[in-house]
């Protein structure tokens, strides 16, 4: 049994130590843990993110050197649909392959980073600027192209590791493209056969078994979903898959054996879904017309980078009025090689 009120005075000793200690350097850091916000800021972790911004390469010409080609993949993929893109066109109506309007409504954006993950051009990245307060509730919270454009230097500054990886990847792609452009005579299937195909392998692995209890619609949706998942897992393989001329053929064969093509009513295009992988799309058009097959090889974003929508480009190629097979920007080399393969199969080269 201690003295009455002993603990009351012990408590007062604790508070006295807190009070006095907070005025001396030794105890100050330990006791006064509050960050005095506008003056002091907590260091942000490198992976912290708030809202997306658009990357450009050179300060002299932000609009000209921005990486975005207005392919609208992010607009399609954005879960809360906060992105709005209008393609820039010249006087003749030919696309300039960059956005005229690029709006992100940050009151709707949920900072999920899906736009960053789906962008094939490394054009959209997550910012870490969290001071976005505005006085207006509607228009002020919509960020337009000039607000969204930020330099690659800024990106390197806020996320050094990630930006370094992106820079290295873009450089490698550029070199590859330069190499490809110079000796155009080198036959493609040779390197393709040697290269591993993680994407194709993944797609084949996740095909749905025949006896699985699904209706055709469910099966179709599910296969699209799974292939998107597979593509997500195998993101780095995109550059490897560039010259994968023979890969789709193999996958076609295996997929055809395991999953029969879904019956699609005439006039609608179940493969017209940017979330679907190339294998799935090609599976869906196995028994369809040549133009449909061509269309299924497109990126399905209707981005008009080629000057048509996906249907129109396919029809133009099929009709012979369009000879250039490299116009599909979002589809990248995958689409181009698939188109070439289809043309070869049809004997139209």
């Amino acid at each position: 049994m201690g003295l009455l009120g002993k603990n009351l005075f012990a408590g007062m000793a604790v508070t006295a130590r807190n009070f006095v200690g907070s005025y001396f350097d030794g105890g100050r850091k330990e006791r006064l843990v509050t960050y005095q916000y506008p003056e002091e800021r907590m260091p942000l972790p490198e992976n912290s993110r708030t809202f997306p911004f658009l990357v450009y390469d050179e300060d002299k010409d932000p609009v000209g050197t921005m990486r975005c080609v207005a392919c609208k993949i992010c607009e399609v993929e954005c879960p809360p649909q906060c992105i709005y893109i209008v393609m820039d066109r010249d006087e003749k109506g030919k696309p300039r392959q960059r956005p005229k309007v690029f709006d992100i409504d940050i009151s709707v954006c949920m900072q999920c980073q899906i736009c960053v993950e789906v962008c094939p051009f490394e054009a959209i990245k997550m910012d870490n600027d969290y001071e976005k307060s505005q006085y207006g509730r509607f228009d002020d919270l919509v960020e337009h192209l000039p607000d969204l454009l930020k330099s690659n230097d800024y990106y390197r500054q806020i996320k050094p590791t990630e930006a370094g990886a992106v820079d290295a990847k873009l450089k490698a792609e550029k070199e590859k493209k330069a190499k490809k452009a110079a000796p155009a005579v080198v036959p493609k299937p040779v390197p393709a056969a040697l290269a591993p195909k993680p994407a194709a392998a993944a797609a084949a692995k996740i095909a749905i078994p025949d006896d699985a209890p699904f209706t055709p619609e469910q099966r179709q949706w599910l296969s699209g979903f799974l292939s998107a998942l597979g593509a997500g897992v195998a993101v780095p393989s995109k550059s490897v898959a560039e010259a994968s001329a023979s890969a789709p053929a193999e996958a076609d064969a295996s997929a055809a054996a395991s999953a029969p093509a879904a019956e699609a009513p005439a006039g609608d295009w179940p493969w017209h879904d940017a979330g679907m992988g190339m294998q799935q799309r090609m599976d869906l058009v196995k028994d369809r017309s040549f133009a449909d097959k061509l269309m299924a090889a497109m990126a399905q974003t209707d981005c008009h980078a080629c000057g048509y929508d996906c249907r129109g480009y396919a029809d133009a190629i099929a009709a012979g009025s369009e000879n250039d097979l490299s116009l599909c920007l979002p589809g990248e080399a995958e689409t181009e090689s698939m188109l070439k393969k289809l043309m070869q199969e049809a004997g139209k080269v």
Binding site: G11, T15, N18, F19, S22, R31, T34
Partner: protein, 390 residues
């Protein structure tokens, strides 16, 4: 007041001014000083309190308005003045308005008998201590009016708690003061301070250095804290239980007036404590010529602020006590102790040898303190059984 009048009357260059005007000046000047200095202390006490509580709880206090938040009280005042004044529709509007005013006036009146320096007392009443208790008890009326007129359950609960608490703690407080009055032989605050002057460095004669004085000081401080509803005894406005107690339904400047009244009462009570137990303005250097009174004023305010800081410190540390504990403590510990303290003063007065008197009264009070705290805080509660617990 009289002294000021005499001073003015004695001035040759004021000889042509009529006496009535001089006496009016002599009345108005101390009043002006009281209603400017002490509310000023109140304003900065709130700042000091918030900063000190912040440091105690490992955070910065207010530090945005001016350097070190020095303009914070002004910002608070502006904010409270511009706030909407809301009166409940069913409230008794007149009493609702009257309550905050009545809360401030008694608190201001208390300063009338406070000797802040040698010869510096607004009114030297012969019955100073009696005046203090008569006035300070009146403030409970304001609290009850506020609680009753608001027509709000929480306000009424807070008001009832305030009445019960203030009335209970008034008793040991007055009895603790009686001991001082007995020892000093006077009810006048000036007389009490004069009794504590002299001694080594003008310190050793303070009543707090005698056993009965120390006990009286503790009793009186506890009573004063309870009466001004400071933290361990803040059940009339316990935020976690009854929102804000009797001033739940007050906003804007009426709320500010309640706060003002409460803090002024606390400051005045600290001042009375200083006067009765801590030697008032007495301290080293107070006997010096010319600057002596100034040093005295300095000592008075230094002691006053020390007591306020300790009260703030206690607020930052101790938890609020329960209603039953509050009442048990007042009636079972403080009241008997204050009566026994009066006996101790009697012994002190009639014993010739002060050394023996010191020892005897100290032993007497110590024994009783231990016995009473043991009895008074014993928990005679049956062990709780949980019927539905497995």
């Amino acid at each position: 007041m009289e002294k000021l009048y005499q001073l003015l009357d004695g001035c040759k260059w004021l000889a042509n001014v009529p006496d009535s005007l001089l006496s009016a000046v002599a009345i108005v000047v101390p009043i002006l000083l009281i209603i400017t200095v002490f509310p000023g202390i109140f304003a900065y006490t709130t700042l000091i309190e918030r900063k000190a509580l912040g440091r105690v709880q490992n955070r910065y206090g207010p530090n945005r308005v001016g350097r070190w938040g020095i303009l914070q009280p002004i910002a608070d005042g502006v904010k409270l003045l511009t706030k909407e004044d809301i009166v409940p529709r069913k409230a008794d509007k007149f009493v609702h308005l009257l309550a905050p005013i009545l809360a401030v006036i008694p608190s201001l009146l208390l300063f009338a008998v406070l000797p802040v320096g040698p010869g510096l007392v607004p009114v030297d009443l012969h019955i100073g201590i009696l005046f203090v208790f008569a006035i300070s008890t009146a403030s409970v009326l304001a609290l009850f009016m506020g609680g009753w007129a608001s027509r709000n359950k929480f306000s009424l609960l807070g008001a009832m708690r305030a009445v019960a608490q203030v009335v209970s703690y008034e008793v040991p407080m007055v009895l603790a003061a009686v001991a001082v009055v007995m020892a000093a032989g006077t009810l006048s605050t000036v007389g009490i301070v004069a009794k504590q002057s002299g001694g080594f460095l003008s310190v050793t004669n303070w009543f707090v250095f005698q056993p009965w004085g120390f006990v009286g000081f503790v009793l009186f401080t506890i009573g004063a804290m309870a009466e001004s509803a400071r933290t361990p005894f803040d059940i009339p406005e316990a935020e976690s239980e009854i929102i804000a107690g009797y001033h739940t339904e007050y906003s804007g400047f009426k709320f500010a007036l309640f706060q003002l009244g409460e803090y002024l009462a606390a400051i005045a009570m600290a001042g009375i404590t200083v006067t009765m137990f801590l030697g008032g303005y007495n301290g080293p250097g107070v006997g010096l010529k010319y600057i002596g009174p100034l040093i005295g004023v300095g000592w008075f305010f230094a002691k006053l602020m020390t007591i306020i800081l300790v009260i703030i410190w206690i607020r930052g540390t101790w938890p609020r006590i329960r209603v039953d504990q509050l009442m048990a403590f007042a009636w079972k510990v403080l009241l008997p102790m204050s009566i026994l303290n009066i006996v101790a003063v009697g012994l002190w007065h009639y014993m010739e040898s002060k050394l023996w008197a010191w020892l005897v009264t100290a032993a007497w009070l110590l024994i009783w303190a231990i016995v009473l705290t043991k009895i008074g805080t014993a928990q005679n509660v049956e062990r709780r059984t949980y019927r539905y617990a497995t």
